[in-house]
């Protein structure tokens, strides 16, 4: 069953709705779905009070309409199925998910895809901080799957990423790939300062202008093209080993043309 949720009322303090997970919703009847509890601060309320709920087609998916920018934890830990979100999403979208797919037509808040194991997330708008990153103290961020953001992302994209792929369409903030140890991050557009800080492995491709790089980024050579998850990016690229403050096993490729200032 395809479940359609239309945002009706988000309480002033916001909502936490990890029950919005295909595995939880699609096998249930509408009234049962409506009775599932979501959190508004310390109180719970039925999902049906916050959303108008209806059934659509036979597909096992969830469609969300309206402004869910203050609804957190949609698709948290999901393992299968599909969520289409026609609007914005709040924090922790698809965090720790292991399978299935999430599509967002708008923008998402911080910790989207944090510590995810598998599955895919696509975002037409922007993402805030810690996209595909790690929670405080964790040793690994994203460990598999893919995240694609058409717009821009905030700080610490792919923090402690171990595997998987993140692509950003229109630039990102500081500390892209901080403590990255595996996987691939590709950023088109302008990138902030300190990419690859503390990087010990993986591949970070910055296909646009970069504000600055760290002393710990060691220049290796110029290469003509880059390859990321099957796609070829035309260079030339400046290739660095990152981060000399660590074991420097990470690879940082920066589009050469707009970034001659980095080697001055």
């Amino acid at each position: 069953m395809s479940v359609r949720l239309v945002v009706k009322k988000v309480p002033a303090v916001g909502l936490e709705a990890e029950v919005i997970d295909p595995a939880t919703l699609v096998k249930k009847g509408l009234s049962e779905i409506g009775r599932l509890q979501v959190w508004a601060g310390r109180r719970t309320m039925p999902l049906g009070e916050a959303f108008d709920i209806s059934a659509e087609g036979p597909e096992d998916n969830i469609e969300i309409h309206g402004d869910a920018s203050r609804v957190k934890r949609i698709g948290q830990g999901m393992a299968s199925g599909r969520i289409d979100l026609l609007g914005d999403a709040g924090m922790h979208l698809g965090n720790r998910m292991s399978g299935g797919e999430i599509h967002v037509s708008g923008s998402v808040s911080s910790w989207c895809g944090c510590e995810m194991q598998g599955g895919s997330i696509s975002i037409a708008g922007n993402a805030a901080h810690y996209l595909g990153g790690a929670y405080r103290g964790s040793s690994a961020g994203m460990q598999g799957g893919s995240i694609a953001v058409s717009g821009a992302a905030g700080g610490e994209v792919g923090c402690r990423m171990a595997d998987g792929i993140i692509t950003i369409g229109a630039g990102c903030g500081d500390f892209a790939g901080v403590h990255q140890k595996g996987g691939v991050i590709v950023v088109h557009g302008t990138c902030g300062a300190r990419p690859g800080a503390g990087m010990t492995g993986g591949l970070l491709i910055l296909n646009g202008r970069v504000e600055s790089i760290l002393p710990g980024a060691a220049y290796v050579e110029e290469v003509q093209e880059a390859e990321a998850a099957g796609a070829r990016l035309k260079g030339p690229f400046l290739k660095f080993k990152c981060d000399l403050a660590e074991q420097a096993q990470g690879e940082l490729l920066i589009l050469a043309e707009p970034n001659r200032h980095l080697r001055e």
Binding site: S110, W111, A128, H129, Y130, G154, G155, E156, G173
Partner: protein, 125 residues
């Protein structure tokens, strides 16, 4: 004039927060922007002249003074407190910590009578 602003503790700000948060001593020592003497001169300001300081998040009228804790040119310092807070944004970049140090501000001469006491600063600027 465009400057980089850091906010911070000073000993008299610290004393002021205890002796009388709403009173004159605190205002005298915390409703100030400290700058390099050459920057003051370039702005044509006397010591403790009034200036309007504007950031992306707000503005506030302060007295400008030459920093005793010497600042390089281009850098300004305002003691922590309600005056400094008016220039600080609430975005923490998902860290919990707003950017209290390192924001861009504009400093201009100001014709106002005096700085506003803490109690009349009002809501967000």
């Amino acid at each position: 004039m465009d400057l980089i602003l850091i906010t911070g503790r000073t000993i008299n700000q610290g004393r002021g927060t205890m002796t009388d948060r709403l009173g004159g001593f605190h205002q005298k020592n915390s409703a100030v922007i400290q700058m390099n003497g050459n920057d003051l001169t370039e702005l044509g300001l006397d010591n403790r002249a009034l200036v309007r300081v504007t950031s992306a998040f707000g503005e506030v009228v302060l007295r400008a003074e030459e920093a005793e804790e010497e600042l390089p040119r281009g850098l300004a310092h305002i003691p922590y407190g309600p005056w400094a807070s008016r220039l600080v944004g609430s975005d923490t970049g998902a860290t919990g910590m707003p950017s209290f140090k390192g924001m861009k501000v504009k400093v201009q001469r100001e014709a106002a009578e005096d700085v506003k006491p803490a109690t009349t600063l009002g809501g967000p600027g």
